[in-house]
Amino acid sequence: MSARFRVGMSLAQACQDIGYKGEIGYQTFLYSNEPEIRSLLMFLVEKLPRERAEVSDQPTGKSVVLQRAIAAVIKAQLAVPWLPSNCRLPLFDETQCPGALHSFHVQSLSLPHCSKGPGKKQLKEVMDYQRYILPPVTAQFSRHTSVLASILEQHIAELSAAQEWDNEWNSQGLLSRLTPQDYHCRKLTRMHKRIKEQLHSATLTSPESPLSRLCSTSDLSELLQAFRCSDHVLTKGTHFTHTQKFTFTQEVAAMTSSIPTGHQSENDIQLCQQEELTLLQQQFHQLCSDVNQLAVDIKHMSVPYTQVLDELKQNELGNSEKEEKIQVKKKTIDLLPDADSNLLKLQVLVEASAKRVVNLASQWEKHRAPLIDERRRLKEICSNQDLESSRKLSEIKTLHDRIRVSTEEAKKKEEIYKQLVTDLENLPQDLSRSAYTQRILEIVSNIKKQKEEIKKILSDTKELQKEINNLTGKLDRTFAVTDELVFKDAKKDESVRKSYKYLAALHENCNQLIQTIEDTGTILREIRDLEEQIETENGNKTVANLERILDDYKAIRQENSALAAKVRDG
């Protein structure tokens, strides 16, 4: 009993937790009656998640369409019977016939780039290479699948690079007010500078390294050049490989040329050639290292050479200055013998030049004022233009944004349209739709009828009300008139006075009568309401339920006491 009670209580609690407002307890489940359970079930059914309805209501997303396609493919593959491997046909079904697999292996492709406009002329040799030597993309690698992977990868890389550039240009490039090419250049120089700084700081930390002396070099390319020099071992290695390749091809050429000469003493010839080859190789190596050595020497020498050149230039400059000074001194020495007259002349000259200076100054003032005004005006115009341009820039930016947003919207809408079209095609074209609409129409017409009836009843009651009001008004007025008339006569006549009294009594009695009639009406209505309530309560079988609950209570108490007794005994 108690177990049943507990289960019922937990169920009731759960129902209340999801928001059931009606009366509910354990008895609802144990001693159910029809209306209660009905309302409870209605409530619960409404609470059920309506996935289906939502799915059919909303336009299906792209992922849903994809998932459906996947599901269809899986279904088709499940329907295919399994075949042992010797019964399979090639290309029959790729799920059952797993061919050789290849890993996703990417190599960089070399593509013929289109020259953008006439400004970027490519080298003729490059053009020739692209025209006659470069194989088409599908023939650039020996492995076939890596071609496919590489093409896809290349395309994705280009796309993402373009997107990134777009983003950067929209966010920063537009604000900098440069053309795209200028922006590129500036970014490049900035990058160079940053790299150079990094390299400098790295070389400064290790002062004994040979690179530290290069810190003063001003250009990145020079620095890189220096690096290349210090990485001599590496370049040597590549030289070595080059020579190897070269000798190898030579060997092959020699082999091919030696074949037609004959078979006699082939071994001897080969030996001879081998020796010769090794000799040549050694010589070649020697020469190579010599060349490298010399190149390094030249580089070493070039630094003092430039220094010496600089010194030479400076010395020349100093020389010319000194020569000028000497000439001035020579002139003054020439003027010395006739000192007085020359002094006078000089004074006159000085005065004239002072006058001229004053004159020029006044003239300058005259010219200066309008020029300054002009400058001010131009400055203003400039600032105005600046303002205008920044305004236009912001406008352009908003326009860009709007364009982007609207293109995105258009794309989205197009996709939705496509999906809706496919959905429409996929929709089952049966009769249920028309049946539904018919039913809806029927319901609507029923509701219309009911509405009309309600209107009729309402107008009836209104009319009745009006009549009642009319009648009461009439009554009041006639009573007032008769009252007045009878009252006038009552002063004169005794019998009339009596009749007046009767009249008053009659009026009062009638009023009481009407009151009682109204009261009976309300009471009747109340009685009807109460009867309805009693009926519903009877439907709920409250009394029986209460009795049952009492019984349950007794049973639980009995059980409890029995258990307690057991515990005591135990």
């Binding site: 998932q67 459906r68 996947i70 599901a71 269809a72 899986i74 279904k75 499940l78 042992p84 491997s85 290309l91 790729e94 797993p98 061919g99 050789a100 697999l101 290849h102 890993s103 996703f104 492709l109 593509l111 013929p112 780039h113 289109c114 053009m127 692209q130 025209r131 006659y132 470069l134 194989p135 088409p136 993309v137 599908t138 023939a139 650039q140 690698f141 020996s142 076939h144 699948t145 071609v147 496919l148 992977a149 093409i151 896809l152 290349q154 395309h155 280009e158 796309l159 373009a162 496509k418």
Partner: protein, 193 residues
């Protein structure tokens, strides 16, 4: 379908009737599909008599663009409307779109197989053989008395078959069977979306 600038440019010059006339366009599309499908890259694939009069650089650019476009279309499983709208934007005429699309349909299945062959795949189980054994006792315990199964799964991967051998107790086998059933059920569920 998003295309990069170089691909767009290549396709535009492919659409241009002044550089590709009708017959050379047909040949070119055929050649592009064939070059993707042939297992070893043939450097002379563009060496067709119809394509002689076209500049080789332009031809190679167009070839790169066309192969990229084909692969992207197959990768995204593009339908006819997508392909044709994409090509229309690149000023292809309706006739050329029709030629391209029909060739595409002809080779789509093979290209899908080719793209599907890039990647990895676990081995497939084709068959199983089993034996019920009884473990009575061992050096340490006198009475073990437990049944166990030795199972050999015959699997196949990339054409070569391989056996996977293991033993398991009753519970482990039940667990395995339950897992397999779960897997089968989820595949079925996935097919009924």
């Amino acid at each position: 379908m998003e295309l990069s600038e170089s691909v767009q440019r290549g396709l535009q010059s492919l659409a241009d009737p002044s550089s590709f006339d009708q017959s050379s366009f047909q040949v070119f599309v055929d050649v592009s599909f064939r070059s993707l499908l042939s297992s070893k890259g043939d450097p002379a694939v563009l060496d067709q008599p119809e394509l002689r009069q076209i500049d080789q650089i332009l031809l190679k650019q167009c070839h790169t663009a066309a192969t990229t476009f084909i692969l992207e279309a197959v990768k995204q499983n593009a339908d006819k409307s997508t392909i044709s709208s994409c090509l229309e934007e690149l000023t292809f005429s309706a006739e050329r779109i029709e030629i391209f699309y029909s060739t595409h349909q002809k080779h789509k299945k093979e290209l899908e197989c080719l793209l599907a062959s890039i990647g990895r795949r676990p081995a497939q189980i084709n068959d199983v053989s089993w034996r019920l054994q009884y473990h009575m006792k061992n050096a340490q315990v006198d009475k073990v008395n437990e049944p166990f199964y030795s199972i050999s799964l015959k699997s196949e991967n990339e054409g070569s078959s391989e056996d996977i051998n293991f033993t398991c107790t009753m519970e482990q086998l039940q667990d395995l069977v339950g897992k397999l059933k779960d897997a089968a059920k989820s595949v079925e569920k996935a097919s009924q979306m």
